[in-house]
Symmetry: C2
DNA sequence: GTGAAAGCGCTAACAC
DNA sequence: GTGTTAGCGCTTTCAC
């Protein structure tokens, strides 16, 4: 690799002159400058980014600390980040198999978390001693609340309101909720659903219409697997991911003989599993049953019918995360809370029903 | 940030002693070592990765140069890379919005390309002057052939043979091919299909059963968009991506009134679009029409019915890419060609038919 | 205008 | 065993 020293030697000047010529800073005799530039070109010179980083104390890299790369929501978050980062010559690295400790031996200027939970765990483990600028995407989780980290939030509460409004306008009143968690989980979607559904369901019905796919929600049900848990051979429809949990939810829905006319799913992946399996069980979507999900990612298109989904604006969240993180890195002022408004994306999975 | 200097000062020794103590190299008096380690712990010391990189001339980072992050195949390639890289403490960066020139200001020890085409373009543009270790995933493309770069190939020819064998065993003989390219494109899947289908179709039928979704294949058809091209408002079923092209292919299939009993799709995303749209057009899958696609990624599960797909083993390719790239980086011996064998993943989209 | 020199945080050869 | 020194590739200050 050619260095500035090589160029200096060939041009018969010192390294500092080369540096000034190349960086367009300070005084350099015009003819010399030209010669230096030419030689640099000839030698195919490019500055060593590591040396520049050591000098400037900036790596121009950001880490997106995220485990689930197959989750379309995370992908779209990432796309937003890349877009915003590019404008300021930053690169975003996508990584989640890193343990928190080794983040410190990663060449980054800052770090982005995909959720309050990840952010807080990090904060407690290393954030206190290692003060790397960090921001987090957020969804109104009330349990985890990392202190001193800016949060970019999409308003899930508002989102649930929008979904209910949309469904009610189309005649739906008995509306079930499909979640990968237990009903007492500190999740804003659950609170918001309960808040809405109290007008339509009796108190003792709520538990029935809540389809929580977790061990706690379905005690003793062998079909439930936790995230990442190995599936036993031969089981036809369950899996340890959102899609598999969605499929299982369809079976539970049938087993409970629910008379719900609409189902709201935690995210698009779960909805895909639910949709597929409920159709296999003989339901027609949207004729017998309407489905709406959260997220609004591109996978909603893969459904047949295409899913109606509430966009949590992942790309915008991603962009905002980078914007704020870079402010933090550059010691510019920023706020600790940003709130984005969700938007309903109409698909084909909801039908108007007669009362 | 604490440095070794800080520790040295506090411990009353020189930086080199600290270095030796921390790196467990050379002689350090036991009691001093202990003290140094304790102070490092207290101060929350971690070595500056940039400085280490400058010193060792290794960034411990690899770049996966890839544009399409929404493509499940690329995602699974990436997952394989991450897995293999982790074992050797390497990080993989996912990036494709970088122009080739700026790769040079990225802190990486090597670079991985997702296809022969990308690899060759890079090779011609910067690879000749900038000799960064590089490898590429490959699919038997015969047009692009980057010299001097190791290629990890999954055998698409063999894959097509497997698909035909599978389909023939189930009574299929009139088999169409859905591709995002023109029939004269240098693509091994097209060659292999022609090679197989010559036994079952007459020469002048071949063009009809080839469903190429490209401007060249469908001259004057306004519904065709090139990759990345903006879609005009209001068009219901086309798009500038694999999924949209798959949907359009379904319409072409119907318009040509093809009597094919099976369709082979370029990849899972195209198959998802084709599947969805062909069902909307009234075909029943697999009862009226069977579908097989290439790739074998997780999105095949989102189909209803679940797609039967030929796995090109993306994770394994990704792992192998990293394995070879690291050999290249570490100047260990390696071969220039590695070939993986594809595997058919059965789904629900193929049915046995009576002759 | 220019070049020597110091320094970013770390390593490693070498003298003591 | 330990400290001094030079150097990785670059920037920047400061004499000249």
């Amino acid at each position: 690799m050619t260095t500035r020293k090589d160029i200096a030697q060939k041009a018969g000047v010192s390294v500092s002159v080369v540096s000034r010529a190349l960086n367009n800073s300070g005084y350099v005799e015009a003819s010399k400058k030209e010669r230096i530039l030419r030689i640099a070109e000839e030698l195919g010179y490019h500055p060593n980014p590591v040396a520049v980083s050591l000098m400037t104390q900036r790596t121009k890299q950001i880490l997106f600390y995220c485990r689930e790369i197959r989750n379309a929501f995370n992908l779209e978050l990432y796309e937003g980040m890349v877009k915003a980062a590019k404008e300021q010559d930053y690169l975003v690295m996508f990584h989640g198999s890193l343990d928190f400790k080794s983040i410190r031996s990663t060449m980054v200027d800052g770090i982005i978390f995909p959720s309050e939970a990840a952010a807080e765990i990090y904060q407690n483990m290393v954030g206190k001693i290692y003060r790397l600028p960090a921001v987090s995407a957020a969804f109104g989780n009330t349990f985890y609340y990392p202190k001193g980290m800016p949060m970019i939030e999409c308003d899930c509460w508002k989102g649930m309101e929008l979904i209910f409004q949309y469904l009610r306008e189309r005649g739906h009143h008995r509306i079930a909720l499909v979640m990968p968690y237990d009903i007492s989980h500190e999740e804003i979607r659950i609170f918001a659903w309960k808040d809405q559904i109290q007008y339509e369901l009796k108190k003792d019905e709520i538990d029935t219409y809540y389809l929580g796919i977790s061990k706690k929600s379905l005690p003793g049900d062998k079909r439930v697997l936790e995230f990442g848990e190995e599936r036993e051979e031969g089981d036809p429809y369950i899996a340890e991911n959102f899609w598999g949990k969605g499929r299982l939810a369809a079976h539970i829905f049938q087993e409970r003989r629910l008379d719900a006319t609409a189902v709201i799913c935690f995210n698009d992946e779960m909805a895909m599993g639910f949709l597929q399996e409920i159709q296999k069980l003989g339901y027609r979507v949207p004729e017998n049953l309407s489905i709406v999900s959260f997220d609004g990612t591109f996978v909603r298109r893969y459904g047949n019918p295409i899913l109606t989904s509430l966009s949590l604006q992942p790309e915008k969240i991603g962009e905002k995360c980078v914007e704020i993180l870079l402010k933090e890195i550059n010691k510019e002022p920023f706020k600790y809370k940003y709130k984005l408004t969700p938007r309903l994306l109409e698909g084909e999975s909801v039908q108007k029903i007669k009362r």
